[in-house]
Amino acid sequence: MNENLSPPPERRALKLRDVRRLLEGIIPPAMCTVSADGTPHVNYLSHAEYIDDDHVALTYQFLNRSRANVLATGRVALSVEDPITGVSVVLQLRYERTDTAGPVFERLRAKLSGIAAQTGMEKVFHLRGADVYRVESLRKLDPVHPLPAMQPRCDLAAGVRRLSEQLGEAPDLRSLLQAFTEGLQRDLRVSHAIVWLLDEQRQGLYTLASIGYEQAGSGAELPLAEAGLAGVALRENVPIRIGHMSQMCAYGMSWRIKAEQLGLQAAMADTIPLPGLRAPRSQLAVPLRARGRTVGALLVESEHDQFFSYDDEDALTAVGAQLAQGLAALRTAELVEEPATAAPAAPQAGGNALRVRHYPRDHSVFVNDQYLIKGVAGAIVAKLVRDQIDSGREAFSTRELRLAGGDLRLPEVQDNLGVRLLLLERRLAERDFGLRIERAGRGQYRLVASGPLSLVTEA
């Protein structure tokens, strides 16, 4: 008899990773603590947080009986339920420590603030600490009749690989963004998404790109404090996800209402309507990080409940980091110019006249009384129009704009020029005024007008 035969493979035990999506409070988890004299006490939680296969964190919000019991005996039974399959799991936990700072605390706090805002419980929910527990056992309990598990909407790992390959091939900002938005749809089956970038000076977000909305909203701005899940994800540097938004209200909806109101008068107002679903059922926001800094946030949405999972957090964090790295690398690359080519004079355009108005106080720009954009991008387009009128030249280079940055008093021009030009290009394409920016080579562009240009600088 061969004694070297491997033992039969053991059936893999249930791991916390297998049930982590149950921790999130779609059905609020319930915990039972026990006092030193053995008296049980039941309490509901907003959610629990997966740390690793041996640890979970629970919110410590109140100095109450549960808290006293935890400190006295350290023993907790936690019940979590899956609204999709009906499976429930009871975890036996042992208290280890309370974190009042650090990544576990920040992640729990960010999620709690997201849930609180979505459920109108901001005044009730306040995180004092993240109680960290060791998982001693997991017991799975089957429902009366198991519901069919949802099929994953796609193979996320394979999708990330394909998207990552495409991002790696992108030679410039435009193709990077195109690869990202196309890959989200094709490879990760995400139908609605917004890439927000952070404007540090103005403490706001602006839309670099979006997919799946009637209004693309390139350049649409939002103060960080009003930016909903994207704002929290960015501020706390943690992915935030909500999957059952029927109770939602507060800030998520306020965007849509605002967008709707603006839609009625956006043509004349100096605001770009915000992209976004009117009634999302699921949202996931992932911070975009590069070189130790958060540069923006990716928000994905769905009209279906529980559309995104922990696995989506993993997937979008990975491709989002690659996008952020690409943005950081390529925006510098855009500043390196190819050898200047002869700059031909703009041909006399035969289309309708384009009357450009520029308000220097905030650099808002209107074309034929229709709002175009403001801020850095507005200052750039005003300068380009002025230059073209003065010199008759369509072509311009990033070098010229960098040099003009000081005159325009726009420190950001140095920093983020490539991204701002891309944003301007997209915004002009969306508005379709007969004015567009074309890339003519690395660091070389053309402002192409379909008709004669005029510029009025308002006080």
Binding site: A30, M31, C32, T33, V34, G38, T39, P40, H41, V42, N43, Y44, F62, N64, R65, T73, R75, V76, A77, L78, S79, E81, P83, G86, S88, V90, Q92, M121, V124, R139, L141, D142, P143, V144, H145, P146, L147, H244, S246, Q247, D305
Partner: protein, 160 residues
């Protein structure tokens, strides 16, 4: 025997989500979902649960008699917390069917606005034969209003 005030007694059958907590003789806590509950005229409270799901909780109750029971209403979050030390297990009979149905129907109506369908609620929790149900009966020796907010944890005066 102390009794719940009438509006809290009615709360038990108003379509709440039921949770039961217990502890073994060695202090290990247990938790499981309940399916229906009522306050008896003598002040005791009865809770029905799925005996399969509640196997460990029932074992804990047999060992210690200690029970914690929470009834939370979906939507309003109005939450009642009861405790007892004399919990006993009883056999559920056909006489409990009307209670079971009342609680089931009220619960289905309360969670419908949140996207949970009758079919799902039935399949997961309520499509049970009486034989698979277990009953717990206890005398509340403490009651608290555990509705989230500033007044959470306020003791409720039981009626004599």
């Amino acid at each position: 025997m102390p009794r719940l005030p009438p509006h809290w007694a009615a709360h038990l059958e108003s379509g709440v989500s039921h949770r039961l907590g217990g502890s073994h003789a060695d202090g290990q806590p247990e938790i499981c979902r309940g399916l229906a509950a009522q306050a008896l005229p003598d002040g005791r409270v009865e809770v029905l649960l799925d005996a399969n799901i509640g196997e460990q909780l029932l074992s804990a109750v047999r060992e210690s008699g200690r029970i914690a029971y929470v009834a939370a209403r979906p939507g309003s979050h109005v939450t009642l917390h009861l405790k007892g030390t004399d919990a006993e297990i009883f056999t559920v009979t056909a006489a409990h069917a009307p209670l079971f149905e009342r609680c089931r129907e009220a619960f289905i109506a309360n969670v419908a606005p949140f996207g949970f369908t009758r079919e799902a609620i039935m399949a997961v929790w309520y499509d049970l034969d009486t034989g698979r149900l277990a009953g717990l009966r206890f005398t509340p020796n403490g009651a608290w209003d555990q509705t989230p907010g500033p007044g959470a944890g306020q003791a409720i005066d039981l009626m004599p």
